[in-house]
Subunit: 348 residues, 2 copies
């Protein structure tokens, strides 16, 4: 499968550096999760299939390069490669591990059977093993984080993880809430998805010795990018193709999760249309089925709600890009710029 | 309810110091979990009911006092109280938070409805909220840990948490395994219960500036104590009274978990008795019922398996106490000595 976040005009030397860095991240990831217990090793081997876009590790590395004092003067893959040290790799592995833990637990919450074209852990080994495997991933992430020389990364990852769980609990408390407003939606998404991506970017920069001010800017880049990423995920759950995504569509409707296009639609439709959509959403939630998806989608298109959400994500990407303005021009900065766009152009 | 770990001959000044320390731990615990989100705050408020023996925080404080260079010369509650600083309190809150997270997730795994005379989170708010609340607790524990000046506590708690999850996964892989041997049983218990108690004792000592050698000894004290504690838990699930325990008995049989008395029995019964017990265990596991408990209990008594397990726990307590031999005599050392015994004498 072609990398959905691949960038066509990526300068070849940098692409190699990031790819090389990601290989080191994967090795660090696997080494940290290795276990002498076959019961653990089997489950860990299974979740290697979950590895997808590696968005968070890629951002750790790219922000680490872009915020590095030598980013503008480095030439060629070797000079760029030398800017990434073990701290970047460890932080990148930690962020991916925390993310994987949420995937494993999300699948339990969503009773999902498939992810990335494979069976989920809960489907194969039961909810109990999936809950514990998620815990094993979180604990391993924090353990790895605490082997760094200072507590900075552990504190940031700890804070982001707390925020993420709070976001999940907030979302859970609004399941089947057909009155969910935009403000709460964005609060949920910023916490649930945005904050760990913010932390990934921030920590990548800090590992390169960037000042707090520069790291905060990259953090804001990540937060906006993360929210845009989630909107794109929401859009793909409505408009994506199952054969391309590798997982079923319409799950949000089925689970009673209102996403941005639906919220926009309910706020802009006339009373009659609104009542019809609400009835369809209730039916989807009650029967836990996404059969009504084509009808809902048609209604969303009629109020321009798909396009409005696409524009909203694009505006967030613009805001993210604006955070890069003060960084010196460099191949990694250009890479971040292009990645921001790829996040909302992907179809998987 | 009388504190099941209370010690009759506890010198009054020290009891006050520990009680005062635990109050600070509880405040730190609550402050760390506080959330501006009502959805989170409600769930957090509920698990305050889970607070039970506070074994781990008590051990952090008692080991912190016993390993303190001034333990032998301190007199009166004020002098002892001055030996406990914010680091002890934070570490104690962290250990309790990790433990609470496992309780919340264990209840999901066990489909338990009641704990400590109240409903479980999964029963009240669903498995989804319980999974996320457990994650929130783990993340909060690591976040608090990372606010300490060095990474030592975070690393130790991280390692212990990984070990604990691996132990849970090992146990899970042996559910309904009627051939489970003593060796694997002890491996499970040491990982699942012993290691966090080991870490609690070790870190309590380190917060008092104790050497690694002294901290390791107290760690070994904790590990043995933790294993003995789990054996007592296993015994109470067989011989305890529901009205005293505040939760159902016979859950281990029902869930197909072989515990020490059953393993001893199967290893020592004659072929006919063994076959009868196996049939009963299979029936209990398949019907997920503990109706066969009285029969199983009678068989266990016939092979002296209850008594053998009691002796085994007592031997572990003796080994734990032996680790205290090199510490100077002091009220906190005497408290640890007495606590070791209380762990296996409790009926709740």
């Amino acid at each position: 499968m072609r990398d959905p976040l691949a960038i066509d005009d990526d300068p070849a030397p940098l692409a190699d550096v990031i790819a090389g860095g990601l290989t080191r991240v994967t090795e660090r990831f696997d080494r940290q999760l290795a276990s002498d217990l076959p019961a653990v090793a089997t489950l860990v081997a299974h979740i290697e299939r979950y590895r997808g876009k590696m968005l968070r590790p890629t951002l750790v590395l790219a922000c680490g390069l872009a915020a590095h004092p030598e980013a503008a003067s480095a030439r060629g893959p070797e000079e760029f490669g030398a800017l990434l040290h073990d701290g970047h790799i460890a932080v990148a592995a930690v962020c991916e591990m925390v993310h994987m833990a949420t995937l494993v637990h999300d699948d339990v919450l969503d009773e999902a059977d498939t992810r990335r074209r494979g069976w989920t852990v809960n489907h194969l080994s039961g909810n109990e093993a999936a809950v514990m495997l998620g815990d094993y991933l979180i604990a391993s992430a924090f353990h790895l984080c605490s082997t760094l020389p200072t507590t900075e990364a552990a504190e940031e990852v700890g804070r982001a993880s707390v925020t993420m769980c709070a976001g999940e609990l907030l979302q859970l408390s609004h399941r089947q809430d057909l009155a969910l407003g935009e403000r709460t939606y964005f609060d949920i998404v910023a916490r649930k998805t945005g904050d760990l991506i913010r932390a990934s970017c921030r920590l990548g920069a800090r590992q390169s010795g960037a000042s707090d001010a520069v790291a905060d800017r990259l953090g804001r880049f990540g937060l906006n990018l993360g929210i845009a990423f989630q909107i794109q995920d929401d859009l793909l759950d409505l408009t994506g193709r199952e054969s391309v995504l590798g997982k079923p569509v319409g799950k949000d409707l089925e689970k009673g999760k209102l996403t941005l296009p639906v919220i926009h639609h309910l706020a802009h439709a006339d009373a009659g249309t609104r009542a019809r959509t609400l009835a369809r959403l209730r039916a989807a939630g009650e029967s836990e089925s996404s059969r009504g998806l084509p009808d809902v989608l048609e209604s969303l298109r009629a109020t321009g709600s798909i396009e409005a959400s696409v524009r909203r994500a694009a505006a967030l990407v613009e805001d993210a890009r604006a955070q890069l303005a003060d960084l010196p021009d460099s191949p990694p900065r250009r890479r971040l710029h292009a990645m921001a766009d790829a996040v909302i152009r992907r179809n998987v």
